[in-house]
Assembly symmetry: C2
Homo-oligomer: 223 residues x 2
């Protein structure tokens, strides 16, 4: 999107995720506009986007507040993501062609290179990971599915999860991608779906273990 609107979106989002705006805090448009250095118009856009992501909730009279994000909410998001992205993997397997398979292999190879060193390049891992999942979603051929998943894939959550991964966990993630590639190569939709669901559910538990008992505020701080 455009400059001011993006700035408002990124600004408010980071204020929420960093805990600077705690759960339940009132989000006045005027105040946010001033803090982000833009006018109310792009702030209103940003609030709508954040509301769609459930990071912001509105009361019955259209006033905005920071939504509270319990571990249960995160679990909820991961569960839906496992289901939808599993479905995407199934469809992708059924529609797979050799060129796409090759792209996925290249992508997973890049992930391997990123995590091979003693000190893994987590940024590189995340980039490869994002591309890998994006290709699958694209291959699934459902615009609606992509659009639904877009609101579910909270990058900060993924970021924090990956940074808590040890080298072995990163390798396991890479290994699961390999298994997905095998399922894709055989065009086995059910297999792909199962592997993807497991892949995402494991990621959730890695997240939960690292953040056990922490509030949303603490979770954000711990990042």
């Amino acid at each position: 999107m455009s400059r001011a609107s993006d700035r408002a979106y990124a600004g408010i989002r980071s204020m929420i995720l960093s805990g600077e705006l705690p759960a339940g805090a009132a989000l006045g448009e005027e105040a946010l506009a001033e803090r982000c250095g833009v006018s109310r118009t792009p702030v209103r856009d940003a609030l709508r986007r954040l509301e769609a992501e459930l990071l912001v909730k509105r009361n019955e009279t259209q006033r905005s507040f920071v939504a509270d994000w319990s571990l249960g909410d995160v679990a909820d998001a991961f569960e839906l993501r496992a289901m939808l992205e599993g479905h995407a993997a199934r469809r992708a397997a059924e529609r797979m062609d050799d060129a796409t398979l090759q792209r996925l292999r290249v992508c997973n190879q890049a992930i391997f290179e990123a995590i091979r060193p003693e000190q893994p390049d987590v940024g590189g891992f995340l980039e490869g990971n994002r591309d890998f999942h994006a290709i699958i979603l694209e291959t699934s051929g459902s615009r609606r599915l992509s659009s639904l998943l877009a609101t579910l894939i909270e990058q900060p959550v993924i970021w924090r999860t990956a940074h808590h991964y040890g080298r072995d966990a990163l390798r396991r993630s890479h290994g699961e991608h390999d298994e997905l590639l095998a399922a894709f190569a055989r065009r086995d939709g059910a297999w792909a779906e199962a592997v993807m669901a497991a892949h995402i559910r494991r990621a959730f538990h890695a997240y939960a273990d690292a953040h056990q008992g922490l509030t949303a505020f603490d979770m954000a701080r711990s990042a």
Copy 2:
């Protein structure tokens, strides 16, 4: 939402669904504002909402167009709805309590009353149907799931489907609700999920049969 914003939303939406704005037509904010009798601000809001529902698409430079809605797109939406609403039914069964069960029974009884006469009250059926599904969604206890499904449940599609139903199809729909109630009474999540998925898939085929070979434009005209 507020008056002007809703008017813009309803106006543009009806222009699209009625075929007055055909698939691919450019949606200039100024022109829409004039046609709806509001300013550009609420039009922009409305376009964002319609974009989230995939009724409007934007090109890479933020210009809006009427999305083309093939039968394949409708099938896509129904498939995702079957999966997500099936999941909601499973969760609802696991969380069911007697008071909610009673509310659902009352709701399905109202549907029965609406379709009993020789000339069924389709409006009454739709109202009861909507409430029935809403209660299940609420009982599933996942805000994210509700939020995802909100964009999938295109009321005009449901409306057209129901109006193509004969009296027997309406009764079958009522009967499937009864079976859902049985699954809920036993707290059998897997049963509830299967019945719900079947319920929605059958609705899709009723829709597809009635609209076979028609374009989005023709489909809208036929309503």
